[in-house]
Amino acid sequence: MEQHDIVIIGGGPAGLAAAIAARDEGAEDILIVERDHQLGGILNQCIHNGFGLHTFKEELTGPEYAQRFIDKVKEADIPCLLNTIVVDICHGNENESGTKIVTVMNKEQGMIQICAKAVILAMGCRERPRGALNIPGYRPAGIYSAGTAQHYVNIEGKMPGKEVVILGSGDIGLIMARRMTLEGAKVKVVAELMPYSGGLRRNIVQCLDDYGIPLKLSTTVIDIQGKERVEGVTLAKVDGRGKPIPGTEEQIPCDTLLLSVGLIPENELSSQAGVEMNPITNGPKVNESLETSVKGVFACGNVLHVHDLVDYVSQEAGMAGKQAARYVQKECESKNADRDISVVKEEQLRIQQNNMIIELKAEQGVRYTVPSIIHIDRMEDTQVVRFRVGGVYANAKIAVYAGETKMMELKKRIMAPGEMEQIQLKKDKLQELVEQNILTNQITIKVEE
């Protein structure tokens, strides 16, 4: 059976950054498995600018951002299997405890089983389809998720429609409003169910306002007309609970409805592999090393939780790559038969003493945290904890509690569900709190107004 130290599933921004970081940390034997014919993932179709301000201090388009990482992967000579789909991840046999078997399939080699010491999940996410919203009406052609339309326009050079209504004001929806307009389509309106947009302010101004495209908040599609191709949609205002308000209906003729109504991490493989999931993020539960509930399986990028900026995906994936590399090294060491038993015992004792497991709890406006568990002994000096809030908060604080004690707070002028937030936990501070018996097993993060 083919063997690799680290198998990375997905060659998008997360997989690429994880591969580079793992190599930097000393992992020699890495394989990236990518289902598309090229690396770069969804960035290939995100041809707008605005990527990389944090990472490269300049504004790149999606394909340019991806290429910088692809070039590094090529320089590092990390092998990639393209046009290859992962069918299954399972545990290896008992003789090789801890190893995983990744089953992949492609045209050239058919079915291949790869034995891996560590696996990094970097499969990204998919768009929520119409069905998930249960939008009533007919089921004609002309209803696309915004990403599918983006693929048609930017990769295939084809127009999916001419008179467009967009439901959902997430960034992909806003970006596609501008893109379709520049290619000659008439974007009539962007409707948003929530009373606020899920997209970046800059995109609302530069993708909608610049082109006079109206954004209707607290509005949804309540009917789709057209038996073969879309002929129109009916919009209605919604109340505080998202229910349409009778009498506010407005019929809008159009041939296309684009949906930008949310992204869902693609975790079917993770679930099959027995990875425990977080029902809020739809991604795996991970610890400080971005390791899932299955030992040696790491996760990063949009498969873990949906990010707002690709720069954060790259950062996070870098951490997963580094930790996977360390994991592989440690596994090798512990298998080294020459080691003195007493040294191992001593080490185990030390681990027991220091291996304080802290659960991170999201409360009161904080929807989730990544990671959700921290082993203090294993954490870096500074641990980034990322999360999203559940509503729009102006002049609020992010408060972090160890038990009942507030250990830090962060003033925020504005927080919104569309943007990821983060706090940084210091290892020495946590250790200090543990010694003082203030921190026992839980850290709570909440919004205070």
Partner: protein, 503 residues
């Protein structure tokens, strides 16, 4: 020039296809005329996919007779013709002590209809069998003979086998008039261009043009679903009236596909007819249908009330049903004849015109038996003027396209080695490969639309609902059919996806 046939069948749904398949055993020239761009485009594509055990129909009715017969044929047929079927059993839930009498009556009716192995269970016995059944259930009728079937798989298998045995399927062809001249029926139809040309798109509404076609046949079999009354009434003074009855459904993600194992019905209550919750043969969970009589024969839109209604009702049956698992919703029309039973037989005063009308539930279950029953009628009619001979070279079995995701490692490896396209995943939710999609397009009745590919392969039927795979499938269709991508449609007519190049 007129095309001459022994038998013309109107409608390529499950019933028309079953009739075609049974008649293809004989040395006859047969054609099926279908208005839509593909087979299985009407009632047959949007229903519960249930093989009813047969306790619902009134004893002595045609429905009762064909239901039990069809149900008993299904398993063997699924092996002969290679479509998905599972005898998972069904439960009719009773929520009220006062209703137990009605449950008992249903049991007796089943026995009278000839349904085997029926059993009345207590509430606890029911929950032992199906732990997710609601605590409010006090009793249930258990029918181990009940099953589930892929409605597309069944229809396509029957049609393809008929085609293999010489039946012509003439698609995109809508019958406009039927008239008896002498001993023959003259059938006037309009044939639509299968692909919308770019000029049509740019010129107007994109609706394809029609060309007049004429056919002649000794026997016409009317399997036109919700339009069966239209054709019947063209040849008969005794009018029938089909009422399209709309049913809305929610299809749920495979991760809740094992919530229940059996098909869960509800005993009709004062609140009306219940809805069913069932696993599908492909592992999803299906909830529905609503029941609403509609005027428009094309009214297959879903409604907010309809969808919330079925989810509310379904929640009575099973404990943990979450709306969040819905991946798509759809609606279908059932052809309800106002007298309540199937209308099958030679029309009085119109010799050689055979109705197969009012085929509502359990029409899918009945289809194999209906096919035989109708073939018998047709051969007798043809027998009046000449001998009808069985073919010696009838091909009784048919192999469907392989479903890679269902095969073992070794089987997959072998197929990929023979044809590398079986190693290229197009639809990643349902794990459908390029090879399967090409097979679907090249099949005996090849898919020409995205929906056609979907029904044959399941590409686009998964949780992302074709977001990722539709551009690829459209490209493969265009390549195989030798037309530009702009001409590929979702389901024929003006249902095209693309409006030309960006620049």
């Amino acid at each position: 020039m007129k095309a001459m046939y022994d038998v013309l069948i109107i409608g390529a749904g499950v019933t028309g296809s079953a009739v075609a398949r049974e008649l293809s055993r004989y040395n006859l020239k047969i054609a099926v005329l279908e208005r839509a761009s593909d087979i299985c485009e009407g009632t047959s594509k949007a229903n519960s996919g249930i093989v009813h055990a047969g306790h619902d129909a009134k004893p002595g009715s045609l429905k009762a007779k064909l239901n039990v017969a069809g149900s008993q044929m299904m398993e063997a047929l699924s092996k002969e013709l290679d479509f998905s079927y599972r005898k998972n059993g069904s439960l009719v839930l009773c929520f009220d002590e006062a209703q137990k009498g009605a449950l008992e009556k249903l049991y007796q009716q089943g026995i009278e209809n000839g349904v085997k192995n029926l059993k009345v269970l207590t509430g606890d016995e029911t929950r032992q069998l199906e732990p997710e059944i609601s605590d409010t259930v006090v009793a249930a009728l258990y029918a181990p003979e009940g099953g589930i079937v892929c409605p597309f798989g069944l229809t396509i298998a029957l049609a393809e086998n008929a085609a293999m045995n010489g039946v012509e399927f003439i698609l995109n062809t809508e019958v406009k008039n039927i008239e008896k001249i002498g001993h023959e029926y003259q059938v006037i139809a309009e044939e639509y261009e299968p692909f919308v040309s770019q000029t049509d798109c740019n010129k107007g509404d994109g609706t394809p043009r029609g060309n007049r076609k004429e056919y002649e046949a000794q026997v016409v079999v009317n399997c036109a679903g919700v339009y069966a009354d239209v054709f019947h009434n063209m040849v008969s003074e005794e009018k029938i009236h089909i009422i399209p009855r709309k049913g809305e459904y929610c299809l749920m993600d495979k991760n809740v596909g094992k919530l229940v194992d059996k098909t869960i019905f509800q005993l009709p209550t004062a609140l009306g007819k219940g809805v069913l919750v069932t696993p599908t043969v492909h592992g999803n969970l299906l909830v529905g249908p609503s029941a609403e009589d509609v005027e428009d024969h094309e009214e297959i839109s879903t409604t907010a009330n309809g969808l919330s209604g079925i989810l509310d009702k379904a929640a009575l049956s099973v404990k943990q049903l979450s709306n969040r698992q819905t991946i798509t919703s759809f609606a279908g029309l059932r052809a309800h004849e106002e007298k309540g039973d199937f209308v099958i037989g030679e029309v009085k005063g119109a010799e050689g015109f055979v109705d197969v009308a009012g085929i509502e539930s359990p029409g899918l279950t009945c289809a194999p038996a209906t096919g035989q029953y109708v073939a018998d009628i047709v051969t007798k009619i043809l027998g009046r003027t000449g001998e009808v001979k069985e073919k010696t070279d009838f091909i009784a079995t048919r192999k469907g396209i392989p479903h890679i995701s269902e095969l073992s490692m070794e089987e997959r490896q072998k197929l990929i080695r023979e044809n590398p396209a079986y190693g290229n995943i197009i639809c990643r939710c349902e794990m459908v490969t390029e090879g399967e999609i090409r097979d679907a397009i090249k099949g005996p009745i090849g898919a020409k639309t995205l929906d056609g590919v979907k029904r044959r392969t399941r590409a686009g039927m998964g949780r992302c609902q074709a977001g990722f795979c539709s551009p690829k499938t459209v490209a493969i269709l265009a390549e195989e059919l030798g037309v530009p991508e702009e001409q590929i449609t979702k389901c024929g007519g003006a249902s095209r996806f693309l409006y030309g190049d960006t620049k």
